[in-house]
Amino acid sequence: MQINETLIDDTFAEAFPMKATRLIITAHTPVWAQHAAQSLTGFATSVIGCGCEAGIERVLTADETPDGRPGIAVLMFAVSTKELAKQVERRVGQCVLTCPTTAVFSGIDPATSRAPLSDNAPLGSGLRFFGDGWQISKMIGDTRYWRVPVMDGEFVCEESTVTVKAVGGGNLLFLARDTDSALHVAETAVAAMRRLPNVIMPFPGGVVRSGSKVGSKYAAAPASTNDAFCPTLTGLSRKSELDADVGCVLEIVIDGLTDADVGAAMTAGIAAAVELGRAAGVLRISAGNYGGKLGPYHFHLHQLAADVAGRRA
């Protein structure tokens, strides 16, 4: 399939079940909410080495937050509810509790969530002990909050956060003529995806260059470089999928609350990329998978791109 002279491979991205939660961080000013959110989502690119994948979903206005202050919505994904709970407690404890003027709330409404609900993860129920006995529990409506005295007043947080069964590992590979065109298409696609709700792109700037394959020649390494897409190995690796025109490949990994959210984000990324087209150096769009045997979610590029082609026709 070709759109705007960009070739779209007949392949699919393979994604996996994950557990996810949304946290709403508010603060006295947008700047401090941003500081807390960036700190909380730092070093959270991959579950392999970071324990969770996390990112800023979007900026919230004061009208959209529980306490009427400016805020940020972040999404966190982990392989299990237990690991997610561990990461939530650790990261909120170190990055939000510590950040001036912030408060933190559960951001998924069980009544409207399209993602299947999972167990709640502790939020304030563990952090409250920082209050050394001065903390106060407060029920407002049906929600329990903890008020923990800190040096700028009170740190307020919800007792627990709702978690859902989510989807992680959707991806797109952009095969471009050179570094400039690869960066340009990746940045453009990430910008298009960030306009959508319920998804994050957890890698730096939303983009990853070190795409990986399962396994390695070294027994200790569970994953290693994806030599099929490394431009320096076109003449060396038997698995190389690159031709001589491709000078740079970049990948976007997408985690979403539902497979529909991930599919929508991938479609938006494809649309943004083919809009640039071959003239901008976007030669091919591909995706990473493991033969379809590991992950239950398969996002076929031709199916996703059919909508894009239909809109352009």
Partner: protein, 274 residues
């Protein structure tokens, strides 16, 4: 579902226990069957049809019970109710909403002592006054109200919310002596005056006052500042409740006193003066 209407025909000279007059249970009965329903009355008993004219209509709403007339002799109305709606166009007796766990109970007039006593959930609204021990505990019991919302547009009697543990109580008028006594937790708002011994033995919880009391109890101390976020959450949650609580501004912090230091001391009295 069904709306049952009970119109007072003869006010009895004794008190009647209305435990069995729950909308969901009555919805399964015909008007005649409801009329023959026997209610305990002091050491006697009495049929619903002896004191009420009964009618029923089927519609699309939740099960509802409407009582037309003054029934201050009818105790335990809405007791242990879990669903449906009761409207009383008049006053009700003692123990109204006793251990109520869900649904809606609206009284246009007054209700007696122990109104909302040990209430667990739902919403109870009084257009008039409430008696003593409203939202409180039975004598000897450890917990008063543990959930739901109780709104009194008039005045409340003594010992308002005694041993209350959770939920929201709002009083549009005055409260009698020992309001919030032995409060375990929860939120109480009082728009008018408060009697002596406010917050006596209060361990935790929030008492919200729209008028400063004549004196702050000596076992309360200055509660400091810095509770802006909590105040924002609280004022937002009160935005749809009765005045003056609905008009409290999120950006104007009340004065805060902490106590009762004779016990746990983690309770707070917030005074919002316009």
């Amino acid at each position: 579902m069904t709306t049952i209407t009970l119109r007072v025909r003869n006010a009895p000279g004794f008190r009647i226990n209305a435990d069995r007059l729950l909308p969901a249970a009555l919805a399964a009965l015909s008007a005649d069957e409801i009329g023959y329903l026997v209610l305990p009355a002091s050491n006697e008993s009495c049929a619903v049809g002896d004191v009420f004219d009964v009618s029923r209509s089927d519609d699309e709403t939740d099960p509802a019970l409407v009582i037309e007339g003054d029934v201050h002799w009818l105790d335990r109305l809405g007791a242990k109710m879990t669903q449906g709606c009761i409207d009383v166009h008049g006053s009700a007796g003692d123990y109204t909403g006793f251990r109520m766990a869900g649904g809606m109970l609206r009284i246009d007039g007054d209700a007696g002592h122990f109104t909302g006593c040990q209430m667990k959930g739902g919403r109870l609204t009084l257009g008039g006054n409430a008696g003593d021990f409203t939202a409180g505990a039975l004598p000897g019991d450890m917990e008063g109200m543990t959930g739901g919302t109780l709104t009194v547009h008039g005045n409340a009697g003594a010992r308002l919310a005694d041993r209350m543990r959770r939920g929201l109580v709002l009083v549009g008028g005055d409260a009698g002596e020992c309001a919030a006594s032995r409060l375990v937790a929860g939120t109480i708002g009082i728009a008018g005056k408060t009697g002596a011994n406010l917050g006596y033995g209060m361990r935790r919880g929030t008492v919200l006052l729209a008028q400063a009391p004549e004196r702050i109890p000596p076992t309360f101390t200055d509660g400091g500042r810095g509770f802006d976020v909590f105040w924002r959450l609280l004022t937002r949650s009160l935005a749809t409740e009765l005045a003056p609580f609905s008009g409290f501004r999120a950006d104007t912090l009340p004065r805060r006193y902490a106590g009762d230091l004779a016990v746990d001391g983690r309770g707070e009295v917030l005074i919002v003066e316009s």
